[in-house]
Amino acid sequence: MRYMPHTADERREMLEKIGVGSVGDLFADIPKETRLDALLDLPRHASEMEVEKNFRKFAGKNLSPYSTPSFLGAGAYQHHVPSVADHIIQRSEFLTAYTPYQPEISQGTLQALFEFQTQVALITGMEVANASMYDGATACAEAVLMACRVTRRKKAILSGNLHPHYRGTTHTTLQFTEFEAKSLSPVIEGDEDFSEVLSEETACVVVQNPDFFGRVRDLTDLAGKCHEVGALLVVVVNEVVSLGMMTSPGEMGADIVACEGQSIGVPLSFGGPYVGLLATRQKFVRQMPGRLCGETIDQDGKRGFVLTLSTREQHIRREKATSNICTNAGLCSLAFTIHMSLLGETGLTKLSHLNHGEAVTAAEALAAIDGVEVVNDSFFNEFTVRLPMDAADAVEKLAAKGVLGGVPVSRLIPNHPKLSNLLLVAVTETCAESDLAALVSALKEIL
């Protein structure tokens, strides 16, 4: 087997040196009656060529959104990943490195994390960010737990227009803790009102911007109302490209920002691995979950970086840790950092304008179709349309024509008849004019 170096002779000699007769003797502690006496009922080993063939077969049964007109969003966005980003993350020294617990031989990973933390803090308008979470939804759940610890309160309010999977993940995460989350109902028209539910018992209000339906909202007033009662404002951002042209959550008064960072540098990959961003104010940093990288100096006085404030974490604090999280999104955060470095201020701004321009164009084209209504007054690169038919059926019919036309709201919020005709349409820089034309004509055919 190509991955294992020992020859039969070497194995025998090594066993001799260890002083046992057979390899079976090394497993003598396993209860005899449970030891397997035959190979597992699975195929035998395969060559690289065979393996590749198997996976090409899997791939052949899928329709790639990069090879067909696609308007899918709802938490994962189709963007171009620069080849430099994918090349660098495949360098052995990044790809096959361990967690940087030995800083003297991990400065590459650590400096990149420090740059990542800085980039995240800058785009969210916050003071500090951690070294990443699993994804947006888990970052959101951790933000809520963190807000409860900071405020020493137990009740979180989740906006009805927060991504339903983020709400679900937060409810799941909190269900067995002393904390509770209350989800409001989705609001399709008009502004969501928190005044009824906000009180001096509220730990935090969680809102998404742009929200699940794509709408953009100035959160400054809401931040003020939260702070009046001593609650924190948690802002979720699903599509971080929006931060290239929008007022940052920090500027609007957010206390914690939780984002899905996939849009920058991370492939769609059928939902994971992605990269959760978590940013906050300096004064809350000791209540933050996850790894943190900090600047310091070495014995010779040279600048260097280390993982720091580890006493928050499970490997030291055990049951009293701020979270049970250990693994972060390592390589995905590196891809994010590389892509963001390539973009810079100029590129991120331009990319966001490009996305917005394509989306506005698409919204106008769709609104011109008979029976199709664009629900949003405001949006960034994703908006909701109301179709004269069930949106899930429409999506199937469009797929049959080779168009991935969007995400039906009912897929994420089922059993809600009022929402069944709503379709989320995301339009990014990858959308060609011909893609939009294909969607428009396919929609006209099926409606």
């Binding site: 991955y3 046992v20 790639s64 020294e93 790809l95 361990y98 030995q102 800085t118 920090g250 201020e345």
Partner: protein, 528 residues
């Protein structure tokens, strides 16, 4: 209250490093420095070309950003060089041996990377209609089949994103199962030697953690365990092989005992590598176990992630598994995405989408490459290598527990007593010898612990060189060459770093120097 595993984290004052020449640039030939990306930008450069944005009437609802963000502008070659230089300051499994106990740092085959990037696999959107992703769902189902077969368990939850996330999944299933029976149990038993994630996870599920001491032979103390068992115990979390590198030979008894009081057996699967194809956790009475695909099945560690932590479940816990999951339906594979209907007992959703697909692809490629015969060989060679290191060192280093180990060899620091050289010093000196240090000061039950896991990937020549280096250093330590050790590493890109200073005054981001080019907001947030 004292945790006496504290160790020096502030380097001694700089002393003669033996360096004769300093260079103008700070570089040393191939050892190349690179400033922070923020210190390299020139406004107006760009590293990505793209089309001109369409001129449209802005529909941002008045929320257009006013000030600058503060990101640096760089060209593509600058960015490439920056990150290539950074990469060269990292140790990696491709360049050397990681004897990291409990972490299973093994070879990462490149075919796995290749197939993960195939068009139609790596670029699928999670919310495409099921009809357009039948191959992806089939792949998940196939991986699930391999994992269930390897572990001998009837069910699996694929979505957890990492080991600790998998633990959360397993313990939530346990809690949900108790609640479904109307039982409110309070405690989870966890051995003292457990990974920190175990008690942290139990706490997140609202359980009180009750630590069970270890016996003199390094296994969980069965008498103490029996004493702590009671009707308020929800279950036990046990790593097997355990964190001392030993198989818990009473495991079936432990499973029976916890089942007898109506509790469940959670097995931390971090050390699954040692028993692949040798024994199935399902035959040992396990109710839930996470599988670290980034350990056992070689998906790359990536400098700390991403991982993937699918959880195999017993019949008793299966109904409570999280959504979404894949099932065979009338029209092929389907995704069940909501906790309703057939999934009404599910405890809910754990992450945004279906799981770490990128890791699934790599892990399945790895398993197919090995097959049933190769998987069995993995465990044999991993255990063989660990024992080879054990006997290669046990005349110079003290093993706290006698006899054959599984996939990792554990030593304490008693052999260093009187030398003034600590486990940490020894580990840092290993860096100069070209090895990644072993896992140190874990498990906590062993003083100055050194936990060495060689994995099946390492050749006998590498093991011999490692043993030779360790013996050399131990001899040097016993000869009293303390200054050498306390100054180590001498040859790494950085010497020991001031972790105390880093923790006392945390600097967690770059801020522009006073009066230079950053945006107003950046300055504002840096100042507050």
């Amino acid at each position: 209250m004292l945790n006496n595993q504290g160790r020096p984290t502030q380097p001694a004052a700089s002393h003669d490093t033996g360096e004769i020449f300093e260079t103008f640039t700070g570089n040393k030939a191939l050892d190349l420095e690179t400033p922070l990306i923020f210190e390299q930008g020139v406004p107006g450069r760009v590293g990505v070309d793209m089309a001109e944005p369409k001129k449209v009437k802005n529909r941002l609802g008045g929320l257009e950003r006013k000030g600058a963000i503060g990101l640096p502008d760089l060209s593509e070659p600058q960015v490439l060089r920056h990150f290539v230089r950074l990469s060269r300051q990292n140790y990696a499994i491709d360049s050397g041996f990681y004897p990291l106990g409990s972490c299973t740092m093994k070879h990462n085959p490149r075919i796995n990377e290749k197939v993960a990037r195939l068009a139609g696999l790596g670029d699928l959107h999670p919310l495409q209609p099921a009809s357009t992703v039948q191959g992806a769902l089939e792949l998940i189902d196939s991986l699930a089949h391999w994992l269930k077969t390897i572990t001998g368990m009837p069910a699996i939850a694929m979505s957890p994103a990492a080991g600790a996330h998998g633990e959360l999944c397993g313990v939530m299933a346990i809690r949900a199962a108790h609640e479904a029976k109307g039982e409110a149990r309070q405690r989870i038993l966890v051995p003292e030697s457990a990974h920190g994630t175990n008690p942290a996870t139990a706490a997140l599920c609202g359980y009180k953690v009750d630590a069970v001491p270890a016996r003199a032979d390094g296994r969980m103390d069965l008498d103490a365990f029996a004493e702590k068992l009671g009707p308020d115990v929800a279950g036990v979390m046990l790593t097997n092989p355990n964190t001392c590198g030993l198989f818990e030979n009473d495991i079936r008894k432990i499973a029976d005992m916890v089942h007898e009081i109506g509790g469940y057996f959670y097995c931390d699967g971090a050390n699954l590598n040692a028993i692949l194809g040798q024994v199935r956790p399902g035959d040992l009475g396990v109710d839930a176990m996470h599988i670290n695909l980034h350990k056992t099945f070689s998906t790359p560690h990536g400098g700390g992630g991403p991982g993937a932590g699918p959880v195999v479940l017993s019949e008793a816990l299966a109904p409570f598994a999280p959504v979404p999951y894949v099932r065979h339906g009338e029209n092929g594979f389907e995704l069940i995405e909501h906790a309703e209907g057939e999934a009404e007992k599910s405890f809910g959703r754990m992450k945004t989408f279906h799981g770490q697909m990128g890791m699934f692809i790599r892990a399945l490629a790895y398993m197919q490459s090995h097959g049933s015969d190769g998987l069995c060989q993995i465990a044999e060679d991993a255990v063989l290598n660990a024992n080879y290191i054990r006997v290669g060192l046990n005349d110079m280093l003290h093993s706290p527990f006698d006899g054959i180990c599984m996939h990792e060899a554990l030593f304490d620091d008693s052999s260093l007593k009187g030398t003034e050289v600590t486990t940490l010093d020894l580990a840092k000196a290993m860096i100069d010898e070209g090895f990644h240090p072993m896992t140190m000061y874990f498990p906590l039950v062993v003083h100055g612990a050194m936990l060495i896991e060689p994995t099946e990937s390492e050749s006998r020549q590498t093991l011999d060189q490692f043993i030779g280096a360790m013996r050399h250093l131990l001899t040097r330590a016993k000869e009293g060459d303390v200054a050498y050790f306390q100054g180590a590493p001498h040859f790494a890109p950085r010497r020991r770093l001031d972790e105390t200073g880093a923790a006392r005054k945390p600097v967690l981001r770059w801020t522009p120097p006073e009066g230079e080019g950053a945006s107003d907001e950046a300055k504002l947030s840096a100042a507050s």
